[in-house]
Subunit: 398 residues, 2 copies
Amino acid sequence: MARSRRKFIALSTGVTAVALSSCNKGGDEPSTSGANMRPYGDRAPQEKIQRTIRELTASPGTGSSRTPLQDIYGIITPSSLHYERHHSGVPAIDPATHSLLIHGLVDKPLAFTMDDIRRFPAVSRIIFLECGGNSVGEQSGKFPETVQGSHGLLSGTQWTGVPVSVVLREAGLKPEAKWMLAEGADACRMARSIPLDKALDPEVLLAYGQNGEALRPENGYPLRLIIPGWEGNTNVKWLRRLHLTAEPAMSSKETGYYTELRPDGKAEMFTFVMEARSVITRPSGGQKLTSHGFHEITGLAWTGRGKIRQVEVSVDNGKTWADAELQEPILPKALTAFRFPWRWDGEEAVIQCRCTDETGYLQPTREELIAVRGLNSGYHYNGLRPWRVKATGEVESA
Amino acid sequence: MARSRRKFIALSTGVTAVALSSCNKGGDEPSTSGANMRPYGDRAPQEKIQRTIRELTASPGTGSSRTPLQDIYGIITPSSLHYERHHSGVPAIDPATHSLLIHGLVDKPLAFTMDDIRRFPAVSRIIFLECGGNSVGEQSGKFPETVQGSHGLLSGTQWTGVPVSVVLREAGLKPEAKWMLAEGADACRMARSIPLDKALDPEVLLAYGQNGEALRPENGYPLRLIIPGWEGNTNVKWLRRLHLTAEPAMSSKETGYYTELRPDGKAEMFTFVMEARSVITRPSGGQKLTSHGFHEITGLAWTGRGKIRQVEVSVDNGKTWADAELQEPILPKALTAFRFPWRWDGEEAVIQCRCTDETGYLQPTREELIAVRGLNSGYHYNGLRPWRVKATGEVESA
């Protein structure tokens, strides 16, 4: 750390700043009082970063929006920029009348208002959320030009809510109950079956808070199921119903979607956990280096299995790898930021990263993934993502 | 943990939820497609929590706004609700022309553009920020009725930026340099003198990121000095100039304000560190308990000296104390959330908390503080804050 800090300084000398012969100060700064305060703030008008929206059908709001990872700092994504994936748009739910039904194989069916739910003990967790279909095209060779396009169905926020286990025990579980169908209040009633042993894990939440305030409408307002480390689709938004059953419901989103067709023609279902993955966010596709010399390579790593243990970076097309520095805090099932000092000599270079999680799992290459999974399905794609820095400084998909 | 979880469940039985004889479901939920996606989201129209604004002079934007701590979840405050304290309003700075000047006792005066600054290696940290004047009236006996009024000059966010030490070394420090004046670009050129040994601490940042995106205008856009654990006023907003000197500048904000007049008539200057403090945010003044039985007591603890080690809660007017559960992650110089299960029997009760930090410092009572500091000054007030829960369920300052 001390050594690399010194290296940064030596490398950066001369590439930044204007030396001044006197203390003249540029800029265009005010000499009259500024603006009044606001009860609820907003960003500066110069700031334009935004989600990219992709409508998938003629039905309004059915599709996805992607987080601009190339412009995000640290491990907290602003709620305004959290990714979305909707199946029939963003419903307008009134929290005053919304309720959560718990029924099926329970001793006592119950309906909870939002006030009821907020009366229970609550916990907060900082975690990542990633769509099971993030980078779905890369397995079959479609490489978006930017990291927002390729990895943007990924965000990190702090969620607050009540453990599902607490609420289920209020209703009382019958011994035959093995699965829990979680259903949203969107028009399509998006629903997923969750194995009961997972639903009873204390980290699984009925979340009403995100990044300190109420959930945003596009993130499930007023109530969302949060399952840290599991594919985004199981984190059911606008949660209205938990149905305890003996068997999974075989909903369309666990039969027609979010299953993985293997080379032998069989489809794997209920592939819930997001495995370890990492990506360089700066410099990344669509950006341009405007000078030789020092550049910090920055990126994100995450795993549904716990904590990230190590991130390695290669700047020579995978021939050699060196450890990146991990940014504290390193939290389980959360985004972990990493940084790596790099001196760009102006030659074309292919840069990439790979991570290892605390289980010892090493993020695979695309070739390794295809050898196992074939090319029929791209859900849960977590291969390496190289970027080419051209001699012009332009960065593109490699 | 396991024991208290069971206790929660036993206590909560019967106080929540409507038992259903069949699976009828209330609510008013959509059966048509919802809204489209938005490039940059906003909160739901039903959500109204906001900062309370206090203008202190006739000059626009000179005063403070307070975070609604009673409504905040976890350790991340939304940037839109981060507290403010301004001395001549919120200036509109253009990041394209803004620059940071480093001059005085340096080998080479330098001016950095925002692009220059973003080229340096960057780090992110989740920390609290608290105004040195938070609760300034409590020492002399003025107790606001809500926790927003009494403690709301306190927020917690993730900041991203470049260590000041890296940038200072670019300019080269002369041996005589002992202090660094940090000056903002607001009309009053708010400025504070920072001892150089602190400025060189790698945790002190030139921050351009907050909660994942650019700083908000009211939090210093586009550049703010961040000194974790030190009084908010030293975290100079709209940072335009670092002046290296042999002596402190004796700016108005370190002579006329932010000094502490002791009983002997002498004023203590440069009292930078915010000592350990905690407060119950729910239930707190202005709220009302609507039923007997289980209520989770929730609050925040923080210290400028490192990590919070312990929080204790008393529900019997300070006669007995019991450990609260601390919510992970427990990060140095960050807000730490705590929770404590409580069964309210309907009798009047006085509830309060106290914390101990990793140095062993125990948060003092108001009486202990006054014995040391007298009543002349209320900066850095960190006494206990009891709330009275009346038999009606109404909560007020105790």
